[in-house]
Subunit: 576 residues, 2 copies
Amino acid sequence: MQSYTPPLREMRFVIEEVLQAPAAWAAMPAHADLDIDTAAAVLEEAGRFASGLLAPLNAVGDRQGCRLADDGRVHTPEGFADAYRAFVQGGWPALACAPEHGGQGLPMLLDAAVGEMWAAANHGWTMYPGLLHGAYDCLRHHADPALQALYLPKVASGEWLATMHLTEPQAGSDLGLLRSRAEPAGMGLGGLPGLPAYRLHGVKQFISGAAHDLADNTVHLVLARLPDAPAGSRGLSLFLAPQRLPDGSHNPVRCTGLEHKMGLHGSATCAVALEGALGWLVGQPHRGLQAMFVMMNAARLHVGLQGLGHLEQAQRHAWAYARERVQGRGRPIAEHPAMRRLLWTLRADAEAGRVLAYETAMLLDTAHHGADADQRAEAEGQASLLTPVVKAGLTALGHHGADAALQVWGGTGYTRDAGIEQTVRDSRVAMLYEGTNEIQALDLLQRKVLGDQGAAFGRRLAAIQARAEAAPAGLAGEAAAVRHAVQAARAALEALAPQAEDTDRVGAAADDFLAGSTRLLLADAALRIAQAAAPGAAEDPWRAERLAAARWGLLRGAPEAVFAFGRVSSPVALPA
Amino acid sequence: MQSYTPPLREMRFVIEEVLQAPAAWAAMPAHADLDIDTAAAVLEEAGRFASGLLAPLNAVGDRQGCRLADDGRVHTPEGFADAYRAFVQGGWPALACAPEHGGQGLPMLLDAAVGEMWAAANHGWTMYPGLLHGAYDCLRHHADPALQALYLPKVASGEWLATMHLTEPQAGSDLGLLRSRAEPAGMGLGGLPGLPAYRLHGVKQFISGAAHDLADNTVHLVLARLPDAPAGSRGLSLFLAPQRLPDGSHNPVRCTGLEHKMGLHGSATCAVALEGALGWLVGQPHRGLQAMFVMMNAARLHVGLQGLGHLEQAQRHAWAYARERVQGRGRPIAEHPAMRRLLWTLRADAEAGRVLAYETAMLLDTAHHGADADQRAEAEGQASLLTPVVKAGLTALGHHGADAALQVWGGTGYTRDAGIEQTVRDSRVAMLYEGTNEIQALDLLQRKVLGDQGAAFGRRLAAIQARAEAAPAGLAGEAAAVRHAVQAARAALEALAPQAEDTDRVGAAADDFLAGSTRLLLADAALRIAQAAAPGAAEDPWRAERLAAARWGLLRGAPEAVFAFGRVSSPVALPA
């Protein structure tokens, strides 16, 4: 069974030295009181929770799975409910919620770091509270005050859980095909006076945590169509349908089955029948997707953090095993060059990936709390640009990294004893949900990059180039590799720009563009790590290790960015 | 549940038109009577067996798994034993065995094609008869005539199964660490007069099919040390220890546990205790590895064919699903460029991989039955060069291809209903057994390429280049891409040659060299496919599809070879 050791020093290093978050906090009224020691103490406490309560339940969750009883109740694995109670008591759901709703008002950056921990320690369990913060944000911005008063504090505290009902059997990537309907049902139903209620009908699929035994109520956020809705995704409205209605009665949001999945057995993936369930509109009619986008964007960042957590777990355990297992002339396998190559790559990717994910969270903090409007708008644009890269890039690294790490164990890795095979299976789903990675690639290229004719992406490239030009002489080779990759990215953009309206050309280029962007952004992150780690590396083996991993990852990875962008610039023609 | 449709036309095309095997058969006395229609009829019959009997048991095997009963017997999944009986009755084990031992004497090339079918239809089941042919070859070349008389016909017919006992808990990749011992026990024991018997003691791990309910005897081939054995891998001897001794008594080769694996649940992976089991020496004392190498090399080719089978299954089902599933503006997802890109890549890799694997099998036929000694020696050397590429390259493609294909199903792919997630799990093990892919990479570079100063590899490069130079004008771009990759391979060899004795340098380069070699050999295979498919492609959509896939795969893949060889030539320094 795999333990979890929170990478506390690595996290603090990224927050304090690479991203220099404390200086940014000082400039935000909402976070001006926060200092790095307080932040580190929060992470230490979270690490204790993750390693002490969540990690021991990870293999349990995989082996027991969830069970749908005849009465329609879902039983989660042993210990999951107790851990969730402790989670609520510890105040973890409210970490980044506003103090006026009972939250602690801490930055999204810290929420991201603890999100990495939860996912690394126990991805399956993490799915239950995973949507709380997104639901909180969604209700806070879009719900009627009467709904807010009833649900916001319960969601902020985690006393009640939250779910998101999008997918239907015929509508996966294409939400425009959703068929669930909402019919006006009158005022004052279900114990909520003053608001028009709706009856929801339909069938939903792949709904994580739609039923469970962790909390005594669940706030279902459901996409459905009003009677007068136009076809397509612009005709979707968002409804809040609590499992237990304000008058205490049971709402017919019924789990009709659990999926048998490759992994993530601890998480209940439900088929759901909406059998006239009562719900209330959240946001404007037909504007449900806009209201849900807040939630989906938060979810995408968190899915990226799951990928990061998997990669971190895989690299840490692979290193530990490789140092202890002796094969071949009495040497631990960590000394064999083929293994070292793999181990250093995993470490480099995990550490650069952390910078990228945390930076995105930090941009969200600036977007919310930045001192001036321009700064806030730019941060929001950059966060929105980076989100698909974090989601798709880090989930691919998490899964492929865990899959590659399995080789370190040899045949033992293929058995459940080593634990790594569970990481491989669990991590696979993150490349699929909240929009498959192919959808993320299209979102990045079509919407985020070409949508403003490359302006936001161009500013990111300029910042990367400026950092490379300012790099110290000791990192000249690394800086040159980054500049070369920036050049390749610009060339790819130039090649694409005249064909931006050709959806086949853009669609065929999207995955390569995403691969190039991921490698470029990781190379930039590695350069920043190297710069931050270099001073004192001669005396401190820990800093020397960060520096070595960053250099290795950058010098291997930047040429991969050049290669991928080259494919965008000079594509091979897809067969007809 | 996934069905299996044997790619009969694709297989015949490779055998007849790409590899032009019938002309080669005509020149071999052993196969001079074989014609392509007979060969095709064998494949058709095998395809019927694979799709009719094996494929329906694939999901059953995954879900039921194997069970170790209290009495030490292993129960395989429902239907496995019946299918095996039908397999023996059909004469399938004896396909490539010599007529004098009851075999059909067909070429290894056909054995490879049916091997692809078995693995594609049901990898777990295939593990039971998987070592029969290797054991047959091993006994035929190394066993005492008395042992041959007793065991060769039963192994050739498949009436008895065969296993290979190498791994021990402390000895995975490093067989030199094996501890199992063999003690002289006297003459005439166990009902076999005239041969000295030995008592085997030790603990073995990861022994596929050491116990089962498919046949009433199992021929265990066991590596162990004689009392006077030197340390290391040169001190290992090979023993034949039948589960049921010639005198009918039970031999204490005991299955003490089954592994809980990520996949391949239908295959019993046993922990084994050798508790004084009786065995007889096969081959010379202390030369057990040499005797077993025959078996391991055959096994490696077959593992590569498993990778090919997985890739073929993944691509075929992904295409079928993508054509039927509609998402986004009413189009089947097979029309979306990101999906087309993936689908064509999977198809291209499967088709070029088939050429590479079948060519290796055909080289074995020439090595055994070629008209003159030089030709036989060269074929053996080339087969030995290609074997690690087939094993490691195709198993990586099989697993990564299946893993990539899963994206086509979206969330459904993560559930067991679609079947692809089983392919992902089952295919993973092939990167580990019969020597991990890292061991294959070292075998390729250190032994097969640098071992003769690049001579055999150089001859392969020259042949590839000659084919590219002779390519028709219509494939000029493809031919240029291949030549470019050959150049990169030569440059990598030149860069390595002066450092051939530096095991760290060679070890760190091995995986990149393997990746480059795989992509180069697949590009060469694709060029041959394209040349064979081009005539008549204008009239025949099936030929046009082969041509299109080959061009796409080659033009995408050859630059990957250049990239990988470039990393060999100009390596990034591994951190200390």
